[in-house]
């Protein structure tokens, strides 16, 4: 036997996901594996001789590296002897500044850091994250890729992402050999949209490094680190090789961050039975030890693995928090597809979105998922408005700003033309005007013409192997009239000489000012401190293009410029014959001309009167002036009706059939969902009222029920009711109305 409700539940998107019970021995446990060590640290003569229960003689690569490079031994004794719960409480205590915790955490072993965060629930972790984030101003990073590797589309998409406020843009490739052209396209595009956006092209390390050497990229977050020795070696690196690579990037003025996250070691089969969070804590100590300014963590591409386990999402938040405790810039995940369920995906995002992180996502798909070469991406260009609305709802800065379609089209065209000029200037395969036209308005790369792939790859190889650098693209841009783009690209190269953006959590503001942990340090210490969304920023974040001015809506409601069709002919009398009184609201047909469902008041009244007439009963129209409430309008009409039956009609269309002997808030039939009423329903309402008036048996009028009507139209309802209420004259008696329009009965 199957419950129909359970069948529905089984079909829900969330049940397309896999949920498993923990299996700690193989690392399938988010936090707290029985094989996780207890925190310990022994130092003899300034040398670490035991780390988290492992004596020096049994150290693996990672233990050795952490022991030598990652720990601040001066404070280690004090840190390790401080009760973990006390440190956890300091994290949520607004009176304890960030610097105090940074110092204490610098002497903590991986197991100690885990022990601290294990004391905290997600709300406490979010508070900790809000305080410990390195940069005061949160930011966001974008993915810009496409299946055809079309340079005009890449440039246009990068320009749009830059205009939307993304502080970093990363691209990658389907075919590795395209990398130099893709890096070039998003460099030119991003600097067209907004000068100072940092860019990278995620490819294999040696190519990546060469792109950085050429100034085609300005950051790199491809430096993966791992929590066990076997995983590290399988990843074809060691902490020393990664540290050297980090120094190599810095030596060419390229910002770097490492990448790691819960679940990677389990996925690669080398968890050693340790929990995902413990192994990630080791990764983070390695990250600190190699001297990376930051990390991209939050499970990243493994996110579905911790999510299959109890407490997995909490563990992912915990790893973000540990990174911040170590003073690292955090690009906090939310980049790889985290759920089939919109509810689950959004709820998980809130853990980073509400506290704010250095980069709320480490890659928001600023392109359709179809074109996202980073495995599809968690969020998509079509979900940008959802993001903007969430920022506006919560007064939270999620790192991006609403834009106007006209501005987007303008920067997309300029960017596509700019990359066309660069390709021309460098003698690369031409970008046609047809490509530019397509790139400006494209939804995805299926809208783009095909290019000569062989020629493009040849040009890309020439760019990589030859002497050309970012400096050589300044000239063609300048000559083609793209002075600002040329200036921005040159400024990116000058900033490389200065190197201020090598400091932790650095991004550029709108005028190439460096915002980093040093120049824009997070000083959150409770209400009134830290990054607060107010002033100009709040004005920008709340200014959605689709938000409209309710004053203008009110101005457009009336029929004042139309020919009058209702005439007031004096105080309404009380009838003494069988009849139906149709009582309309104070604004009906004058200050308001249509119902909320868009029906012209003339047609509505006509339909009602026709219905009454079909039953052979006379009708009279009165205007109720002393109230705007539907029940009271109907009730007032009923007092005047010879039969005692009246129809009350609010101007927004809400209708009631009332009878004299009923209390005001009682009724014979009520039609509260005005948007769902059509003219035939109004006609039937007239019929029914007439039947009540002459005592015929009457079945209620069937109505459509649409429970989203209130959600869609509550603002319009409020405004129409406001307008009607503004016309109320408390002391005025109902007036008799004559309908002037001929076609109305």
């Amino acid at each position: 036997m199957r419950s129909k409700r359970f069948e529905k539940l089984a079909d829900r998107p969330v049940n397309r996901e896999t949920f498993i019970k923990p299996w700690p021995e193989v690392g399938l446990v988010a936090m707290g594996s029985p094989l996780d060590p207890s925190p310990s640290l022994k130092i003899e003569d300034g040398v670490v001789v035991e780390l988290d229960g492992v004596p020096r003689g049994e150290f693996d690569l990672i233990d050795h590296f952490i022991a030598r490079h990652a720990l601040n031994l001066d404070v280690a004794g004090r840190a390790m002897n401080t009760d973990s719960r006390e440190i956890a409480r300091m994290l949520v205590d607004i009176n304890v500044p960030r610097a105090t915790i940074l110092e204490l955490a610098s002497g903590c072993t991986p197991a100690k850091l885990v022990d601290v965060v294990q004391q905290m629930n997600v709300l406490e972790m979010m508070m900790g994250l809000a305080k410990m984030r390195a940069r005061r101003t949160p930011a966001n990073q974008a993915h810009v890729t496409n299946r055809k590797e079309n340079p005009a589309l890449l440039a246009a998409d990068a320009a749009e992402a830059a205009l939307r406020g993304f502080a970093e843009i990363e691209t990658t490739v389907g075919v590795t050999r395209y990398a130099p052209l893709n890096a070039l396209a998003i460099l030119v595009g991003s600097q067209t949209g907004r000068g100072g956006v940092l860019t990278q092209c995620a490819v294999e390390e040696s190519t990546n490094l060469r792109l950085g050497f050429k100034g085609l990229t300005s950051y790199s977050e491809t430096l993966s680190v791992y929590g066990t020795e076997d995983t590290f070696v399988d990843g074809d690196d060691t902490p020393w090789s990664k540290a050297f690579l980090g120094a190599a990037y810095a030596s060419r003025g390229v910002k770097t961050r490492t990448t790691s996250g819960t679940g990677a070691a389990a996925l690669m089969g080398h968890s050693e039975g340790k929990s995902m969070l413990y192994l990630e804590a080791r990764c983070l100590l390695v990250t600190r030890g190699v001297g990376s300014q930051g990390t991209q963590n939050g499970s990243i591409s493994c996110i579905a693995l911790p999510e299959s386990l109890p407490g997995g999402v909490r563990a992912v938040l915990a790893e973000n928090l540990i990174a911040t405790m170590l003073g690292l810039e955090v690009a906090s995940g939310n980049d790889a597809l985290a759920s089939h369920s919109e509810m689950r995906k959004s709820a998980k995002l809130m853990l980073q979105f509400i506290p704010g992180t250095d980069f709320v996502t480490s890659g928001y798909g600023a392109i359709p998922r179809y074109d996202n070469m980073f495995g599809g991406g968690n969020f998509d260009v079509t979900e940008l408005d959802d993001w903007y609305v969430l920022q506006r709802d919560m007064q939270v800065d999620g790192g991006i700003v609403p834009v106007r379609e006209a501005d987007v089209l303008r920067v997309r065209e300029r960017a596509a033309r700019a990359i066309q000029a660069v390709f021309d200037g460098l003698g690369f395969p031409p970008i046609t005007d047809a490509e530019i036209g397509a790139a400006v308005t494209a939804y995805n790369s299926a809208d783009m013409p095909d290019r000569d792939k062989v020629a493009d790859i040849e040009a890309a190889q020439g760019l990589l192997d030859g002497p050309l650098t970012a400096i050589e693209i300044v000239k063609p841009l300048k000559e083609a009239g793209f002075h600002d783009v040329a200036a921005n690209i040159l400024e990116m190269q000058r900033q490389r000489v200065i190197g201020d953006y090598l400091q932790p959590s650095a991004i550029f503001g709108d005028h190439f000012q460096v915002l980093s942990a040093l120049t824009d340090p997070n000083d959150y210490q409770g209400p009134g401190t830290g990054c607060r969304v107010e002033g100009d920023r709040w004005s920008v974040l709340q200014d959605l293009p689709q938000a409209w001015d309710p004053r203008i809506y009110l101005e457009n409601l009336g029929v004042s410029r139309r020919e009058a069709w209702l005439e007031e002919i004096g105080p309404a009398r009380r009838g003494d014959q069988p009849e139906v009184v149709v009582a309309v609201g104070p604004a009906f047909g004058v200050e308001i001309g249509r119902t909320i469902g868009g029906l012209d008041h003339r047609d509505v009244l006509s339909a009602i009167l026709q219905g009454v007439q079909e039953e052979g009963v006379p009708a009279r129209v009165v205007r109720v002036c002393h109230t705007s409430d539907c029940a009271f309008i109907g009730h007032a009409g009923a007092q005047l009706s010879g039969s005692g039956v009246a129809i009350g009609v609010q101007s927004k269309g809400t209708t009631v059939i009332h009878r004299r002997d009923l209390a005001p808030l009682e009724n014979l039939e009520l039609f509260p969902q005005a948007p769902n009423l059509d003219l035939d329903t109004y006609r039937q309402i007239g019929c029914n009222a007439a039947r009540y008036a002459i005592g015929k048996p009457t079945a209620p009028v069937p109505v459509k029920i649409d429970n989203t009507a209130r959600l869609r139209l509550i603002v319009q309802t409020t405004l129409m009711h406001l307008r009607e209420t503004q016309q109320v004259e408390r002391d005025r008696v109902p007036t008799e109305i004559r309908v002037l329009r001929e076609e109305v009965v």
């Binding site: 074809d236 400096i471 040329a486 000058r494």
Partner: protein, 124 residues
Amino acid sequence: MMGEPVRTPSGRTLDELTIEAVLAGELTAEDFSISGDTLRRQADVAEAAGYRQLAENLRRAAELTRISNQEVLDIYNALRPGRTTYGQLIELADRLENDLDAPLNAAFVREAAEVYLERTIVKP
């Protein structure tokens, strides 16, 4: 960053890095490289702000500014697991120390050689 004006490895100041000079062909990519001195000063700034490991990374980076792209790539590959014998790593460290004026990197490679030997990830 405060203090002395930033100079490129070619000795130019930031004021000289203009678009006019680029268009006139007076500047090359070399003129847009970060110098060892600048990196060392960034390291001092980082260290003063409490970022000791980042400072050490920037000081190693400062030494690498004088080493060619290809050689940097070669050293990176030599440090990857199983690529190099213990002896070759020590030779590399000696060369960094004696020929390339990179003592911090030399010490770093030496340390790696000892740990790699202990963990048997050197090339046999």
